[in-house]
Each structure stands twice: as C-alpha cells, then as structure tokens.
C-alpha cells in the first residue's frame, strides 16, 4: 500500500478539495480508542476530474476505520519529530487568510451570514493518507486541509476557496449533506465554478483541455459529478443525474461573487459590490 502522493499530472494549484463526510452508522465504529462517530467506508480518491480515472485506489481498505484514523500520518510516529508539513501548512493558511482576495471575500461573506470563521476552530491542517487536498466536515463544521498534499501557496488558495464555498453554503442554507444528493451536487457545482478549479491555466497545465469553447462548463460538470460520486459513494449515473437536475439553478448562483471570477481583481470588485468591503 502506498500512501504517497503519486500523481504527477497535477502540480498546479487548482487541486479540488473534496468533502469528507461523516457517515451515520455509529454501530460500525471500530473498537479503537476513538469514539468518534465518523466512518469512512469508501476509498478516498481525488475528486478532481484531472486524473482519477486512471489510478487504482486501494489506499483504504478498512471499513471500520474512523475518519481521523484514516487520515493518520503516513510517515509514522517518529517522523512527527521532524514534521515540517504542519507548520508549513499553517503558514500557507495564514498567508492565504491575510492576503488572498478570494479567501478574504469568502470569510467576509460568511461573517455577513453570521458564521465568522476562526483559524483555530474552523480550520485544521492534517496529514492525509489519500489524494484529496482537503475537505469540509459538516459534522464538526471544520475545514480540513491536507498538509502533505498542498504543495504551494496557490494550491492552498484554491483549496481554501473551494472548501470555504462549501462552508458558506452550509452557513446560509439548510444543506442536507448526508441525505440529499442534489444539495451536495449543487454545492459542488458552485465550488468548482467559483474557486478557480476550472480556470483555463489550470486545465492547460493538467492537459485536460479537450476544447476551449465552453470548456469551463464541461470541467465544472465533470468535477461536480466526480465529487458527488466520491463523497456519497454512488454510481456515475446517479451523480450525473443529480448534477444535471440542479445545474441551472446552481451554475448561476454566484454568491458571494457577482460574476464567475477570472482573477483577483474580480474578487476585489465583488467584495466592494456585495459587502462594501475594501480588500487591499
């Protein structure tokens, strides 16, 4: 079993995060010291559409492992002495929260809806044993960032924006993450659309440009479908149908942006338009 991040194609910053959900069968929880209710019963794989079709995913076999156990350090106990991943992740998180306009806009939007996000409570840098770069945990209301996957500031910015969009949706709407496939699909469509996951540069770097015209929408659709399939462990058709059913409403719901953002200036102007908030 290899725990290391073997993927080569995606080195850019548009690595989509995934939602990691806690499942609800508490009777399946393992007999470990953790009495945490989370179950992780589907193999984790990258929910970004960039490369997951090709690699086999056997990172995770144990059906009984809890969420936190599945994300234990792949490097062993002694390596924790020399762990540089955690402080580096925290540093990137700090920089993103202080300077990146997308992140600041989303934080402001959440504050405006009543959920202020605190760094020590709502964000967590953890080592992950899977290929996803992050997730939003609706059970504990926390954004999880994979410290061993996130390799650059740009990637941190994208992952944070993606997960913050999920958090923002959780905050302003009664999103049923566990039971309603359409809600999940909607949030995934919005996150892929607005976080820069499907930006032209990113797709170019991932050699994923099958065409240019309207490729953004194809990319968003693909990523949303893959994310839904990953986190809800459903079939391709179900995920596809869910995404199609909410496409029209959700692709055009741009909150907190006023247009599909292309660069940082779009985010800065959106902050002024919507929240009277002057970033930089």
């Amino acid at each position: 079993l290899t725990y290391f991040h073997t993927n080569m194609a995606d080195s850019g910053e548009n690595h989509a995060g995934s939602e990691t959900h806690q499942h609800y069968n508490s009777e399946n929880s393992s007999a470990s010291t953790q009495d945490y209710l989370a179950i992780f019963d589907n193999p984790q794989k990258d929910n970004g559409a960039s490369k997951n079709q090709d690699l086999g995913y056997e990172f995770f076999k144990g059906r009984e492992k809890t969420y936190r156990e599945s994300m234990t350090s792949p490097y062993g106990r002694f390596a924790n002495l020399f762990d540089t991943y955690h402080p580096r992740c925290m540093m990137k998180l700090n920089v993103a929260m202080r300077t990146n306009p997308f992140v600041k806009l989303l934080l402001k939007a959440m504050e405006d809806s009543g959920c202020s996000a605190y760094k020590d409570r709502h964000f967590s840098c953890e080592p992950c044993s899977s290929q996803v770069a992050g997730g939003f945990d609706p059970e504990s209301n926390q954004i999880v960032l994979c410290q061993n996957i996130i390799s650059s500031q740009g990637m941190m910015n994208r992952v944070l924006t993606h997960e913050l969009i999920h958090a923002f949706d959780h905050c302003r709407g009664k999103v049923d993450w566990y039971n309603n496939l359409q809600h999940v699909a909607c949030s995934e469509i919005r996150a892929a659309n607005l976080s820069g996951d499907c930006s032209f540069g990113g797709e170019l770097r991932r050699f994923n440009l099958s065409g240019i015209k309207k490729h953004h929408q194809e990319c968003v659709w693909q990523r949303a479908k893959d994310s839904v399939k990953l986190v809800r462990n459903c079939s391709e058709e179900e995920a596809g149908r869910a995404v199609d059913s909410v496409w029209d409403s959700c692709f055009h719901d741009l909150a907190p942006f006023h247009k599909i953002p292309r660069n940082k200036k779009d985010a800065i102007r959106a902050a002024r338009f919507r929240y009277d908030y002057d970033i930089s």
Binding site: Q34, Y36, G114, C115, R121, S124, D169, K213, H216, S249
Partner: protein, 119 residues
C-alpha cells in the same frame, strides 16, 4: 427591495458611478473576452454596464426625477442579484447552531507537531 424614507437626508445612490465604469472596462478587456468564450462560448455583452453607468452619471449631473427612477431600477437589479437565494435548499435565517460550539473530540483539534501524537 424597499426604499426606506430617509430621515431628512437626500437620497444617495447605493454604488458610486465608478463601480459601473470599472465593470464596463473589465468587461471589454481582452482577458474577459477570452474568459467569456471559455465559459459561455460567446462574446460578452457589455452594453448593460454602459447603460448602468450612463444612468448613474445622468443622475449625478442632472438630478432629475426620471434619472433617479432609472438609477433606482438599475440598483434594484443589482440588489436582486445580491440577495438572490438558491431554490435548491432552504435559506437559513440564522447560522447553524453547531458552528460556534467547541470541538467534541480532542482529535478533531488541529494536529500539533508532536512526537508522541499518533493520530
């Protein structure tokens, strides 16, 4: 969108006219044209921003009632977009109650770089 009667103050536009101008400038830029092709498959239509800017400047210069009504219509459109709620899920009026509650499980807390930690 209700226009509250101000307490003696003059009505002011919600956005300064420069906002519309900047949006128009960005809309007609080369980068945005490509982006619009990449996302929607067609050229962007920037005439709306120009009309909004005109409505705003007309009022700023002439202060007539018709100009004000035009500007109100413009702003109404923008504010509707701002407060648009998604029909997929039910809108919340207050944030989720677990948002501010402290973490239940100690392992949910941010991992410290600790030699003895195993999780």
């Amino acid at each position: 969108i209700i226009m509250a009667a101000p307490n003696g103050k003059q009505w002011q536009p919600h956005y300064p006219c420069d906002y519309y101008k900047q949006e128009y400038k960005d809309c007609t830029s080369l980068g945005n044209r490509f982006h619009s092709y990449y996302v929607f498959g067609e050229k962007p239509d920037c005439s709306q921003w120009q009309k909004d800017f005109k409505a705003c400047t007309t009022w700023m210069q002439t202060r007539t009632e018709e100009a004000k009504q035009e500007l109100l219509k413009t702003e109404d459109r923008h504010l509707r977009q701002k407060y648009y709620t998604n029909p997929v899920w039910q809108h919340r009026v207050s944030p989720p109650k677990e948002w501010y509650l402290p973490l239940q499980n100690p392992t949910q807390r941010p991992q410290q770089a600790n030699a003895t930690s195993s999780a």
